[in-house]
């Protein structure tokens, strides 16, 4: 049993860490000339992103043993409505990642803060930022170097669940840890 578990963990780790280098998502900004008379000109700017794909698959392993590797697999931290405080569960996840980062000085993370759709977009943009900052602070307290952490926010703009009820909202109130 233990062997299988270790194998699966290793396998999963491989998938995750391998995936970091593999997929490249393009964010394309196409600016089209909007002259009313209709003449055309366009310019494009391309940005490269690394990291997990747009919909942010969440890969969690249910494990009660509190194994460090399992916690490290958890890449999403959830929050209560209009709140940016970390639950004890969240704190344990953060600790695990902090350990990893302090042990691997070359690694860096982007902390992507999000909010559910209730409230205005701009307020949620700031709320997601506040959540990402809360996690950042905790990382820093735990000794992670500031330049290894980049907090950003998408507010309500990138939900993982599209329904308009609490079950969807609770999944959208999150910070994603992206390597």
């Amino acid at each position: 049993m233990r062997r299988t578990l270790t194998l699966s963990v290793v396998f999963l780790l491989g998938v995750i860490l391998g995936g970091c280098a593999a997929t490249k998502k393009q964010g394309t900004v196409e600016v089209e000339d909007a002259t009313i008379s209709g003449s055309d000109a366009s310019s494009t700017a391309t940005g490269l992103t690394t990291g997990s794909d747009a919909t942010g698959q969440i890969i969690t392993v249910e494990n009660d043993t509190g194994d460090a590797d399992d916690l490290l697999n958890q890449r999403v931290i959830y929050f209560d409505f209009d709140s940016s405080s970390l639950t004890p569960e969240a704190q344990r996840v953060v600790e695990a990642h902090a350990d990893y980062l302090t042990g691997n000085p070359g690694m860096a993370v982007v902390l992507e803060g999000h909010a559910d759709e209730r409230g205005t977009r701009e307020y949620n943009l700031a709320l997601g930022e506040r959540r990402a900052n809360a996690v950042t602070e905790m990382f820093q307290v735990l000794g992670v170097a500031p330049d290894a952490i980049r907090p950003i926010s998408y507010g309500e703009e990138r939900p993982v669940a599209m329904e308009h009820d609490e079950s969807a909202w609770s999944l959208n109130r999150r910070v994603e840890i992206l390597y």
């Binding site: 998502k25 393009q26 964010g27 394309t28 900004v29 196409e30 600016v31 089209e32 000339d33 909007a34 002259t35 009313i36 000109a41 310019s43 940005g47 490269l48 992103t49 690394t50 990291g51 794909d53 747009a54 919909t55 209009d82 982007v110 759709e117 209730r118 409230g119 205005t120 977009r121 701009e122 307020y123 943009l125 700031a126 709320l127 930022e129 506040r130 900052n133 950042t136 980049r150 907090p151 950003i152 926010s153 998408y154 507010g155 703009e157 990138r158 308009h164």
Partner: protein, 436 residues
């Protein structure tokens, strides 16, 4: 006369009063609001083939959308005059029209049109307005909107806002999961949409028109690894630039009334506050200093005050601070547990905002004079309200079934209309100021 008085009282079924001088008086209170009955006759076409635009259709849709008019169906018209000399007022009194619009389009040469119209008072048999226009085919819709503005102004005393433009954001989900965002500019009735910006998977929000209508400021993202930024883009040329920022994210841009400054939200050391930025030089001045979230600034028309959203009291509420700096004061008290995204009407007397009274998010109008708030909508996720340049209508984003759509509501809340604009989600409307 006293006997007359007695007689009236005897037969009374409604209010009749006799003031001291004992003139027989009947008092009548206005009944349910209905629009002014107006007949817009299809414009007579002098040219080859079909008319290039249905001017009558555009004008009727404008007037109907304003909520102030009851458009009489053209099927009931007994005659079809095109100018005042051809009008038989009796025909129009028969269908109870109070106002009559007649007009002509005349093709002077290929793609060169002359348009005339007259607005007539049916019961007084006089002309209230009349104008002549010259335009090419691509400007005919604009001429129709200008005619609507003239009619609206003459009939209501308020300037029209039909010859104006709006901006909004759309989002479409592709089959492969990509989300395409577009920043669009269109006529105020949603026609002639033009794409200003297109991104893949990089959200766009908070478009804001400059006072001269030449620029749009908006919020977007450079890439997946960066936070929000503010861009300024020239509508005509398409040239754009990102505003300079030291660190952290920037969003919620708002142009000052003279167009030289932007108020916006910037985050310094992770704390969202309101800053003022000089557009030309990029120099910034910090306006609020508080660990709470301060965002969504909006300028008063006199350029001296700024309202903004802050959750410094626990939940988001509306505050006001002098643009020159000072202590912010809270405006929304006892009017909803949450209030956000406030913006002024053109006279500076009201704010429109998103409000939550415990039953979801609706659009409310807040009166600066007495601090009361009227609810205009009854959705659960209504947002991004903005006043029309004449303060008579409000454009906002709402949900229709599963879709996000834009809707227009008259400022008194009476008439609501959904705008059919685009497939997919539509949100974040902004209304351009009227150009003179």
């Amino acid at each position: 006369m006293r006997t007359l008085f007695a007689g009236i009282l005897l037969g009374l079924s409604s209010m009749v009063c006799l003031p001291a001088n004992a003139v027989l008086t009947i008092e009548i209170t206005q009944g349910e609001d209905s629009g002014v009955p107006i007949a817009v006759v299809p414009f007579r076409w002098h040219g080859a083939g079909d008319p290039p635009e249905d001017l009558r259709g555009i004008i009727a849709a404008d007037l109907h959308r304003s909520g102030r008019f009851d458009l009489l169906p053209p099927g009931n018209f007994l005659s079809h005059p095109s100018e005042i000399g051809e009008v038989r007022y009796k025909d129009w009194r028969l269908i109870k029209a109070e106002a009559l619009v007649v007009g002509r389009i005349f093709e002077k040469s290929p793609d060169n049109y002359e348009i005339t119209f007259q607005l007539l008072d049916v019961y007084r048999e006089t002309q209230k307005a009349g104008y002549r226009f010259n335009a090419t085919g691509e400007h005919l819709r604009q001429v129709a909107h200008q005619i609507s503005d003239h009619i609206y102004h003459k009939m209501t005393g308020v300037e029209g806002a039909f010859d104006t433009r709006i901006a909004y954001v759309t989002r479409e989900q592709q089959d492969n999961g990509d989300r395409i965002y577009q920043l669009m500019v269109a006529d105020s009735d949603g026609h002639r949409p033009q794409q200003i910006l297109r991104t893949t998977n990089l959200p766009v929000l908070s478009p804001a028109w400059s006072p001269d209508g030449e620029w749009l400021a908006y919020v977007s993202f450079v890439d997946r690894r960066s936070g929000a930024n503010v861009w300024l883009q020239n509508i005509r040329t398409g040239n754009r630039r990102k505003i300079a920022q030291a660190e952290g994210a920037a969003s919620a841009p708002a142009w000052s009334p003279e167009g030289k400054r932007l108020a916006l939200r910037m985050s310094y050391k992770g704390n969202a506050d309101i800053y003022l930025m000089d557009v030309a030089s990029g120099s910034i001045k910090r306006l609020t200093r508080h660990p709470a979230i301060d965002t969504e600034p909006a300028w008063a028309p006199n350029g001296r005050q700024i309202v903004f959203t802050s959750d410094r009291s626990g939940r988001p509420q509306i505050y006001r601070v002098a643009a020159a700096g000072g202590k912010p004061e809270r405006l929304t008290r006892g009017v909803g547990r949450e209030n956000a995204r406030a913006s002024y009407d053109p006279k500076g007397e009201r704010l429109v905002m998103v409000t939550n009274r415990g039953n979801g998010y609706q659009i409310g109008v807040f009166y600066m004079a007495d601090g009361r708030m009227d609810l205009l909508t009854d959705g659960t996720l209504d947002e991004s309200p903005v006043f029309a340049p004449n303060g008579a209508m409000i454009l906002y984003a709402t949900r229709l079934g599963r879709e996000g759509v834009l809707a227009a509501v008259s400022a008194d809340g009476r008439v609501k209309q959904v705008l059919k604009l685009h497939r997919g989600e539509v949100r974040e409307p902004s209304w351009a100021p009227k150009k003179n």
